[in-house]
């Protein structure tokens, strides 16, 4: 079976800066937007781009993520001409190997790619939030005859030193790549989304694998080497909503971006024609109680609100009891906010119990994170 474009979704990262949220699950499996997990976004994008061969590379705390991905059915990636494979590190004739870097993870699955036999390979990150079709990017890659096309977006120049920065000429060809430059001369930040012509990628990965001092990373090794070798690399400018949620505060902000008060960025406008697919939780209808106060919020099916919820994102099977208050917060699946409790500027993790009259972040010191799993044991 040959295919035009195969997608490889890098979903093995730990997401250390998300603290206890990623203690037991990988970052791509973290809850987002009341209903979704972060990986729903890249996988829905694949589905909406007509991609039928998707490999998801997992490593850190992978069992929940692997189960979630399954055969790709949640995103419709299980049709007759579809293939969704969870690709975990494995024991081989050469021994057993963890994925050492993003490029090494793909290298270790060259066999899988050879079987799929794609003309082009799309490399994605499993923990980015955005909704788009990859089709225009592929068309540009093919039309320009590039070996690699890197999706990028414009950042304020004063922030550019936090990113991998691309310098392109007037033909959108990349002339320079700077990883977190002190003095950036461009504001085109790489999104870590690449389309490679598979033959070129395959050779580059094999060469990189043999290099002893390589960190086997796309940004640090593969791209600089290809530039050195005068390969044709191009930029593709993306101007939609895109978020890489690395920290508790940025995950909180990305949730708040979905609210109506945030302006144009919410799941209803962000999605456009590209629907985001997810798991159906078979939960009961959402109920808002007689004395509840709900405003400027996103609330999922299965939630029961009897107290106050303002400027917040609330997942399914959450109960906010009468007299409890949730303000400017994210409450994840199955959490229970007891009577008299107050949650302010916080992320409340899955199945977390906020007990009677408990005050979370009353002093409003940044974004608080509470994860205790106690509600599941009640």
């Amino acid at each position: 079976m040959s295919t035009r474009l195969a997608a490889m979704v890098l979903a093995g990262g730990k997401g250390t800066r998300l603290q206890s949220l990623t203690k037991k699950v990988a970052k791509p499996a973290v809850s987002y937007g009341g209903k979704y997990r972060i990986i729903d976004f890249p996988l829905s994008n694949c589905a909406n781009s007509g991609i039928t061969s998707v490999g998801v590379l997992t490593q850190y705390e992978s069992s929940e993520l692997n189960t979630y991905i399954g055969n790709g059915e949640k995103w419709g990636l299980n049709g007759v001409r579809s293939l969704t494979s969870v690709l975990t590190p494995k024991e081989t004739e050469e021994g057993s190997n963890w994925y050492l870097g993003t490029a090494d993870a793909i290298y270790q699955n060259i066999d899988w790619l050879d079987r799929v036999d794609p003309e082009y390979v799309l490399i994605l990150s499993g923990d980015h939030i955005y909704s788009c079709s990859y089709d225009p990017m592929l068309r540009k890659h093919v039309a320009s005859g590039s070996d690699c096309t890197i999706s990028c977006y414009r950042v304020p120049i004063q922030e550019a030193s936090r990113f991998g920065i691309l310098v392109a000429n007037d033909k959108d060809e990349i002339v320079e790549f700077q990883e977190k430059p002190k003095k950036p001369i461009s504001n085109l930040a790489s999104m870590g989304i690449y389309i490679f012509t598979y033959k070129v990628l395959r050779a580059a990965l094999i060469a990189d694998h043999k290099k002893e001092n390589s960190s086997h990373d796309f940004g640090k090794d593969i791209i600089p080497t290809m530039l050195k070798e005068k390969r044709k690399l191009s930029v593709y400018l993306y101007d939609g909503y895109w978020k890489d949620v690395g920290t508790v505060a940025s995950l909180h902000q990305a949730n708040m971006d979905l609210l109506m008060s945030a302006g144009t960025t919410n799941l209803y406008t962000v999605q456009g024609d590209n629907r985001i697919y997810s798991e159906d939780a078979h939960s009961t209808p959402q109920y808002i109680g007689p004395s509840a106060e709900v405003s400027d919020s996103l609330i999922n099916q299965g939630a029961q609100i009897f107290g106050k919820v303002r400027h917040s994102v609330v997942s399914g099977d959450v109960v906010v009891e009468e007299g409890a208050s949730v303000v400017n917060s994210v409450v994840m699946n199955g959490a229970l906010i007891r009577k008299g409790a107050s949650v302010l500027d916080a992320i409340v993790g899955p199945d977390t119990l906020i007990d009677y009259d408990e005050k979370v972040n009353e002093e409003r010191d940044g974004i608080a994170l509470v994860v205790n799993g106690k509600a599941a044991r009640l």
């Binding site: 937007g33 209903k35 209803y268 985001i276 209808p285 959402q286 609330i299 029961q304």
Partner: protein, 372 residues
Amino acid sequence: MNQIIGLLDCHNSPELGGLTYSRPLASTSFLGRYAFCDFALSMFSNAGVDAIGILVKDHQRSMLKHMGNLMSWTNNTKIGREAIFYNERGILNPAYNTDVANVKENDWVLYDSNATTIVIASPHVVANVDLRPIIEEHIANGEDLTVVYKPIEDADQEFIGAYAYEIGPDGYVTSTGKNAGRKKKANVSLEIWVLKRDLLFEILKAHERVDMSFGFRETMQYILEQGRLKVKAAPWTGYARRFDSFKHYIDYSFEMLDRKVSASLFVPERPIYTLTHDTPPALYGAHSSVSDSMVSNGCIVEGRVKHSIICRDVRIGKDAVVEDSIVFSNVAIGDKAKVKNCVIDKYSVITARHAIEGAEKTPIYLKQGAIL
């Protein structure tokens, strides 16, 4: 439970006024998120009944749309099967378009299967009966027929026209007739029957001989009267409502806003499955105010909602007021519009500043696609 076929019998569904003009009761929306057939189908799923036949009487299109890939209620997607039973010729002679005729027309499902037991349930009786022990007992005791009933004390108001049973001390039915509302106490049928395969074939045969206009209920009644059948009665004391009129549809819908009532239908150990629409969570605007209501995913609420049930993908504009109403999917209610005591069917539009108010006991029904 591979040895069991579940049949969802949509032939005896009552009309729910305008709601069932263009769709069967089975696919009519309930609580914003469900169709009536979901409850019986989920009872099958939760009891591990994986071979399911859906006896469609009419409005096949609407049923097919809701049934989707015919896999939403099966446990094993290979072994499990949901088959649509449709009596093609029934349309020529509606009086004879009975559930028995439909099963005869589609009897390949029976011949394909070596099932020993058949369970029949109906979409218009909403309950979340734990069928597993009832079926197990039926099989273990070698019963011919087990009927599931609910003892009620308001039979003069509820379950009118449903079968009611007199039950002996041994738990077997001694006599049966329709509940005409004469008494307050009655053991009313939840229209769930567990029967032996042989009995089903006996019914199919008797049907030809006795009266071709008879359905399962009448034919079983006939066999019972002949004294050839012992009928075991299995009680169910949990939530059960018979949706048999537009008025009852409204009463029973609003009744679900009471948490105690809804907790008696929605039990965590037996979830109700339905078709997923992949809609995002409900979005509330900065000045929204919502109380005592069910709101489905895909809704954008910027106005006020009180004591109402809002289905998926509904828009409620700024300063709009929706009270004591049921709003079906894909309805748009404009800014400053006012809706009270209404049932608004799918794809309708209430334009900005428009006000519509029904009387408390007799809500206004707006048909699908209405524009006001």
